[in-house]
């Protein structure tokens, strides 16, 4: 009987410990970012606003921040300065920001990016078909792809990417990868 009680207590202690561990792991992911382990990132080839060809697979070996947006989407517009700040903070790191404009023409994107005073380039998914394949939850949506080319996280809606909470999270991902 006593042995059974000790065993029950031990199971109880173990369950509390494991739940604490899980919570600690979850707390590392800032609000608005979810684990999204869907395997290999779908490759694509698109042109940027300068007409340069871009292929996702060329960026294996670094974390990729893949961001879907459109100029008509309010939260996308609001989020742009935060993405600029993120780009500034992560300069020099093995981290690549890739923005994909969904189904707008070159003139619209060029004019919009010029009007909001950001130094960001964007790929043009002119017919929206790459976006269809990636199926973001909504616009804007960002995916985080690890250096092996696997999708690991998804960010929901516009986020304050320049906030230290997000910057630290991303820098920790990079550090963890180096170790």
């Amino acid at each position: 009987m006593k042995l059974k009680q000790i065993f029950t207590l031990w199971v109880f202690v173990l369950s509390i410990f494991s739940s604490l561990t899980l919570n600690a792991d979850n707390s590392k992911v800032p609000f608005g970012i979810r684990h999204y382990d869907i395997g290999s990132a779908q490759n694509f080839i698109l042109n940027d606003i300068d007409g340069e060809k871009f292929e996702l697979n060329d960026y294996k070996g670094r974390w990729v921040f893949l961001h879907f947006w459109a100029s008509w989407c309010g939260p996308c517009r609001e989020e742009m300065p935060a993405i600029q700040k993120l780009a500034d903070e992560m300069k020099g790191e093995k981290f690549q920001i890739i923005m994909i404009n969904t189904a707008e023409d070159e003139d619209t994107v060029f004019e919009f990016l010029g009007s909001i005073n950001v130094d960001l380039n964007s790929l043009l998914d002119v017919d929206g078909q790459v976006t269809e394949v990636w199926k973001p939850r909504g616009l804007p949506t960002s995916f985080l792809i690890n250096p092996d080319g696997h999708v690991k996280y998804q960010a929901i809606g516009g986020r304050e990417w320049g906030n230290p909470v997000y910057i630290n999270f991303l820098k920790k991902l990079l550090q963890a990868d180096v170790k």
Binding site: F31, G32, R34, A70, W72, C73, T102, A103, E104, D105, V126, D127, G128, Q129, T131, E132, R137, G138, L139, I156, G157
Partner: protein, 176 residues
């Protein structure tokens, strides 16, 4: 006299297409009717073909925002939403219907894609704190629109269902 004018204004206000906001302990949902001109301008500015805009102008547009204010997952599934006009059931077309219709009309892929992005998703799991939405298109009616929306909750959809209802919506019309 003032009382009569006030009463008339109140009566007019009841007939106008006003946003409806519903709050439950788990979620907030807002419905905002849009006029044909509002939607037409949006789509025209994005270069939508006239034939497409003409079809859209015939619809009753309601923009829906859903905010999960609970600490558990809430599931949107549009097949669990029921619509009425003047108390009689009406059908909301699935996004696949629109896709087919635009394809038949030869609408460019880019416009089809943008249109889809303006629609509410057919299904979506709302994480705690998440706020997403989109447009619902219904057949235009001058009668009050009723909506009954049922949401599953919890990771495995086994939690208590949330049901919200409204019969206070009107399709928005442009002033003559």
């Amino acid at each position: 006299m003032l009382k009569i004018i006030t009463l008339m204004l109140v009566a007019l206000n009841i007939q106008a297409a006003q946003p409806v906001i519903i709050k439950t302990p788990e979620l907030e949902i807002d419905f905002t009717p849009r006029t044909a001109n509002q939607m037409g301008s949006f789509y025209e500015a994005r270069g939508f073909p006239k034939a497409m805009r003409d079809v859209l102008k015939q619809q009753c547009f309601i923009t829906v925002g859903i905010h999960n204010t609970s600490n558990k997952k809430i599931w949107l599934d549009m097949s669990n939403w029921k619509f009425t006009a003047g108390g009689k059931p009406i059908k909301r077309e699935h996004r696949d219907y629109w896709k087919q219709r635009w394809q038949n009309m030869g609408v460019p892929l880019s416009k089809q894609s943008t249109f889809r992005w303006t629609l509410i998703p057919e299904t979506l799991d709302y994480l705690p704190g998440e706020h997403e939405g989109g447009n619902i298109l219904l057949p235009f009616s001058d009668k009050p629109i009723g909506i009954t929306a049922t949401f599953a909750t919890g990771d495995n959809k086994q939690g208590k269902k949330i049901v919200i209802t409204t019969d206070k919506l009107l399709c928005a019309e442009d002033e003559e």
